[in-house]
Amino acid sequence: MNVTARRLAGLLLGTLCVPSLASASDPQATHEFSLDNGLKVIVREDHRAPVVVSQLWYKVGSSYETPGQTGLSHALEHMMFKGSSKMGPGEASRVLRDLGAEENAFTSDDYTAFYQVLARDRLPVALELEADRLASLALPADEFEREIEVIKEERRLRTDDKPGALAFERFNAMAYPASGYHTPTIGWMEDLKRMKIEELRTWHEAWYAPNNATLVLVGDLTEADARQLVQHYFGAIPSRPTPPAKKPLELPEPGERRTVLHLKTQLPSLLFGFNVPGLATAAAPREAQALRLIAALLDGGYSARLPSRLERGEELVSGASANYDAFTRGDSLFVLSATPNAQKGKTLEQVEAGLWRLLDDLKQTPPSAEELERVRAQVIAGLVYERDSITSQATTIGQLETVGLSWKLMDEELSALEAVTPADVQAAARTYFTRSRLSVAHILPEEASHD
């Protein structure tokens, strides 16, 4: 899986609600250790079902790539299924399938991760296979020739023939003028056409080292089980220096940017994006937490401001969303998207004005106690609900660690939220929702041809 919709994945209630020590139930035992070769391991116990998820996260993704080599991390992820010293091409997947495991991988701008969900007694197989392709990836040239065609089909399916995804790719390219976040994770088609197997080999040698990875295990196992197994399968893999990885930093105020895209869509829509810090780059973490709270106030439920004011109240939009991913390696983007209510004859210009009314209101009026209490209630409950899924627990841990934050943040959500004052919300809105930080895309139906 390729997390190309990365920036749209960061809605507060999607990422903020994670298992925790917080009030509602007993803490979930979580252990952290490292092997001598630098592999970091985090084990979270969940004994409800005899099932384990294993996720191996590498600190490499499309934001590490250079022009002309876009799509390299994602293509390497595909080729990780094409054999290693103990396995022929595709064979590891066959072995795992026969064991009833669910397995796959995903790539984003900040990470590449591989996972297996399986009955607990089968975990050693997942670890042995994962260690083998870390240490001895085969990268056969003939397999790559066919696999790059599959990747092009993936791009056609998920980007080129999907107007929304295509628009977002172009929008990102504009909204991140300085950092590697302008690169689409799947890669530009022209770069896919000229990608060489040697580039993938170099990429694997550069970044796939135990000291550049985090192994997350969640489920029905103990720390002692995990230590023994991980040491056994990964312990002998030598550590290796990796290239310097610099945080993707943006221009603080790049200036207002606007684009008009004519795509295969029937209805117009628009994207707004403000250049903002992430939790890893904010001068004070509270700034990023305030932005997360704003995203929740705008779009954290059917009673939030976007649906209640613009969708239902003014009937200005037929749909709208707000997204902010604070858990990034570098500077982030606060994104609003909206579709004008065509049946009511609303225009893109009216929708832009409506979005500005909401943003200006955040600057001028502090959120009400009642509104804040609703967000708090959802966070508290979300901390419990998230524990129902071992996969989402593992993903939260892996993402936090891989972008340079600590998994412990997931257990500190409530206090982080409660530390944000109404004045912080106003200050963040005033600082970040400015025209000099804004990118706007108008997405319009293709004009009728006149030939």
């Binding site: 390729n2 409800r48 595709g90 997947s93 026969d98 056609r156």
Partner: protein
């Protein structure tokens, strides 16, 4: 990461084809270079036992008003899930396509004394999650809440008003209709949706499964509040629902919740069963569309959810194209030729005969030959059946993935909903597993041949008409046996 496991699809009778494509990346295949490799020590060490799964204590009863209840206590987390499944899908639309979906979407738009925003504030202020959705057979309304008494009781109180006393405000209806009209506009540029709609229309003719659940731009504007009220009174009746409950509740609390829900609903019996669809006319329809890929859908009428052949068809399909990687379709179309990102097949067991579907997308200039390739793979499989090794592998996979199918409360409540809705026995999960393990090659071959005819396919293609090119030659390497996967 929203993929469902193959097993969950098998048990629930859902296919990814209707739920959206799997997001796969891996590229398996049993193709291996003929070189000696060290065996996996971890695999050799497995003891060959089928794995255990989470123990489920499924309890069932009927409420005073006749609703079937399925309950599994799960005290580990301080939360519960309540899922109501009504036989109130678009198959009950009658002459108003979209009626079932609109009624379902309008439930939480108003109750006496509360408008839509007040309802949303109510749930969200408690940290509760309200959910709803309407499909062809069923309409679902769900609640997830903390189990602490103050949160639980308040959330249930609001929930029972929403399902029992919706006011269907005119202004909300107008707004939601407008949103549906906007989505119809977007759908006009979605080749996958165009293909799916055309396929169901051809497959089902005048059967109520023929039209899409969201209706169309002619039917939706004509639906008024009175239609919604009448539909609610009949299709949201206590005799027409299955109540599934999982979570931190004891039996008496679960009984009280089920009674409260059931009492809040309109009184009435289950709706009559759907008619059987007539056999469709085989053939291919092409829809011209300016995409870079061509979408291909191949279908036949499949089975009812209670069909005794379901375990054999599930297993047979796992080998053909179910669950992602390592299937015959994926091997031939993606792995050996690089023609597609994904190709999947599946039976959807429904109240009346659901579809058997194969879906894929490929670049337009190869679409006709790719379609020919897929037809050949299907015909060969139906003629020859699976190999003994394929059968053994698929059985092992099914047993191995069993624990994943009931790992979370969300998984369990979904299983209970399906067991209740399709009137399956409480031992259904174990029965299914035992039946799968008892199947022979001949059983699977015969079942597949009983239900599928390679000459009866209804095919829809959506894409641009371009000059066609020959397919690339496949890679052919000797198949290597997987290394010592233990039997169980």
């Amino acid at each position: 990461m929203t993929e469902r496991t193959a097993l969950r699809r098998g048990l629930l009778g859902l296919t990814p084809l209707l739920l959206g494509a799997l997001l796969g990346v891996a590229a398996p295949g049993a193709l291996a270079e003929p070189v000696a490799r060290p065996a996996l020590e971890s695999l050799a060490a497995l003891n060959g036992q089928a794995p255990a799964r989470r123990t489920l204590d499924i309890q069932s009863w009927r409420t005073a008003e006749g609703a079937r209840v399925l309950f599994v206590p799960a005290p580990e987390l301080p939360m519960f899930d309540l899922r109501l499944t009504f036989a109130a899908g678009s198959a009950q639309d009658g002459d108003a396509p979209g009626l079932a979906l609109l009624t379902n979407a309008m439930l939480n738009e108003g109750v006496p004394g509360k408008d839509v925003t007040a309802i949303a504030q109510g749930f969200e202020g408690l940290g509760a999650q309200f959910g709803n959705g309407a499909y062809r057979d069923m309409a679902v309304v769900s609640l997830r809440s903390l189990s602490a008494a103050d949160k639980r009781d308040a959330a249930l109180d609001l929930f029972t008003r929403v399902i029992g006393q919706p006011t269907f405000p005119e202004d909300s209806l107008a707004r939601i209709k407008n949103q549906m009209l906007a989505s119809f506009e977007f759908q006009k540029k979605n080749p996958g949706k165009l293909a799916g709609d055309a396929l169901f229309a051809r497959l089902y003719g005048d059967h109520p499964y023929a039209h899409p659940s969201d209706g169309d731009e002619k039917s939706v504007p004509a639906i008024g509040v009175e239609r919604l009220r009448a539909f609610h009174a009949k299709a949201y009746a206590a005799g027409n629902v299955v109540i599934a409950l999982v979570g931190d509740l004891d039996r008496s609390r679960a009984e009280a919740i089920a009674a409260q829900v059931s009492k809040a609903l309109p009184k009435g019996p289950a709706l009559p069963r759907l008619p059987a669809p007539k056999a469709p006319e085989a053939g291919t329809q092409h829809i011209e569309f300016p995409s870079s890929q061509t979408h291909l859908m191949l279908a036949e009428l499949g089975i009812e959810r209670n069909d005794p052949d379901w375990p054999a068809l599930y297993l047979g399909n796992q080998i053909l194209g179910g669950g992602g990687f390592g299937t015959r379709l994926m091997e031939e179309v993606r792995e050996k030729r690089g023609l597609t990102y994904g190709v999947y097949s599946g039976f959807t067991g429904m109240q009346a005969r659901g579809p058997f579907l194969i879906t894929l997308q490929t670049r337009a200039e190869l679409s006709e030959n790719t379609l020919g390739l897929v037809r050949t793979i299907l015909a060969d499989y139906l003629a020859g059946g699976p190999t003994q090794k394929e059968l053994n592998d698929a059985k092992r996979e099914t047993a191995g993935s069993f624990p994943l199918s009931t790992a979370s409360n969300a998984d369990i409540v979904g299983q209970l909903g399906a067991i209740g809705f399709y009137d399956l026995p409480l031992t259904y999960l174990e029965d299914f597993m035992a039946k799968v393990q008892a199947l022979s090659v001949a059983d699977v071959k015969a079942a597949m041949a009983r239900h599928l005819d390679p000459n009866a396919l209804v095919i829809v293609t959506v894409g641009p008409k371009v000059a066609q090119q020959p397919l690339p030659a496949p890679t052919e390497k000797p198949l290597e046996q997987p290394l010592a996967v233990p039997e169980h």
